[in-house]
Amino acid sequence: MLDKIGIAKRISQELQDGWYVNLGIGIPTLVANYVPKDMNVEFQSENGILGMGAFPYEGEEDADYINAGKQTVTINPGGSIFDSATSFAMIRGKHIQLTVLGAMEVAENGDIANWKIPGKMVKGMGGAMDLVASSDNIIVAMMHTNKRGKSKLLKRCSLPLTGVACVKKIVTNLAVLEVTDAGFQLLERAPGVSVEDIQNATEGKLIIEGDIPEMNL
């Protein structure tokens, strides 16, 4: 079973040289720490950064340089700054090759819910609806089940949707799955996790074909 860092590490294997990538808040942000050496990947932050760098050295924080998570950051050489409309032009115009974000629920048809729980305080969708509506390559990073042990991979989402039939791949603490026309295709198991464990934790239709390899981290 993976922890959050393990999920981020596994997702980092999906990166390809030359890609522009938008990472959501939470587990997705950690992916930036595991970019393979010798691979050039640029991170976009939707508040207006391309080429987002590391956190600044202590004492060098600048309130005018933050990321979409409102954290102080730096800009790498070769980076650029732009306004919000241009930022979402990049996103909506499909100039970003990979979007990684968290989710509360994913349905077997690729629907995603990650912004609203009825009856609870609603914080808003931020840029999530734009990202999921436009990206051709969306990976969800999340725990396979919620805090009450219930599956987050469902037949249908019960929560208000963020986007429709858009998720391509899911990396959880238990497995890597691809969203196909037929349902969740199981690609890999987390170390020490059995196919049965994954089946038990998956409410939506799980497709198991042949031997399912263990992740290679």
Binding site: P56, D62, A63, D130, V164
Partner: protein
């Protein structure tokens, strides 16, 4: 052209109860601190505020929320604010949440004279309720309308008396698009410079979009999430 006014108080002259205002900024970054303070002091009520976020309890738009000056918020993300939550859950505050890209594009459209455009963002969600759906290349899109405001209030880094503005870093965010979308746009800057000091090639917001400009004072520029790399 001389669009310089003396102070935030003078800059907000004409903003009245029940008006719609746009405010630049992302989180607490690039927000017009001086004008927000002036709005608090002027006790203007029932405002509809278009702003990506709603500040925190004791800074940014949170200051207007504390005084119950806001009737309605149009935003994409409104966490980090207890008073906001209380007013929203009690029904005192109307909230219209829209996707961040749609918010930016709708302001830009408003400033550019485009009354409406199609976007895939929000299709199949609550955001699409009541909106026209149309397919382009087999993919569903919804029709989104332009946003404008009686006043837009933006925060720049440097500006001149023609209203030309340069922004610094990610404090740019929504400021350039909202600058275009105000019937009257007020720019609050850290420094007013002489005309010609801003290279025309690198002006971010051309002066035509700005009606009033002033040099703000005592910018706090609060950091929400101070994250650092330890030196070693």
């Amino acid at each position: 052209m001389n669009k310089i006014v003396a102070s935030a108080a003078e800059a907000i002259n004409g903003i009245k109860d029940d008006m719609t205002i746009m405010l630049g900024g992302f989180g607490l970054c690039g927000i017009p601190e001086n004008c927000i303070q002036a709005l608090v002091q002027a006790e203007i009520k029932n405002l509809t505020c278009i702003s990506n976020n709603a500040g925190v309890d004791d800074f940014g738009l949170g200051l207007l929320l504390q005084k119950r000056q806001i009737k309605k918020m149009i935003s994409s993300y409104v966490g980090e604010n207890d008073e906001f939550e209380r007013q929203m859950l009690s029904g005192e505050l109307e909230v219209d949440l829209i996707p961040q890209g749609s918010l930016a594009s709708r302001c830009q459209a408003g400033g550019a004279g485009v009354p409406a455009f199609y976007t895939p963002a929000g299709y199949g969600t609550e955001v699409a309720e009541g909106k026209e759906v149309r397919y382009f290349d087999g993919k569903p899109h919804i029709l989104e309308s332009a946003l404008t405001a009686d006043f837009a209030i933006i925060k720049g880094w440097k500006g001149d008396r023609f209203g030309n503005i340069m922004y610094k870093g990610t404090a740019r965010n929504f400021n350039p698009v909202m600058a275009m979308a105000g019937k009257i746009t007020i720019a609050e800057v850290e420094e007013i410079v002489e005309p010609g000091e801003l290279d025309p090639n690198f002006v971010h917001t051309p002066g035509i979009f700005i009606q009033r400009i002033f040099q703000g004072s005592s910018f706090e520029k609060r950091i929400e999430q101070r994250t650092v790399t330890p030196k070693s």
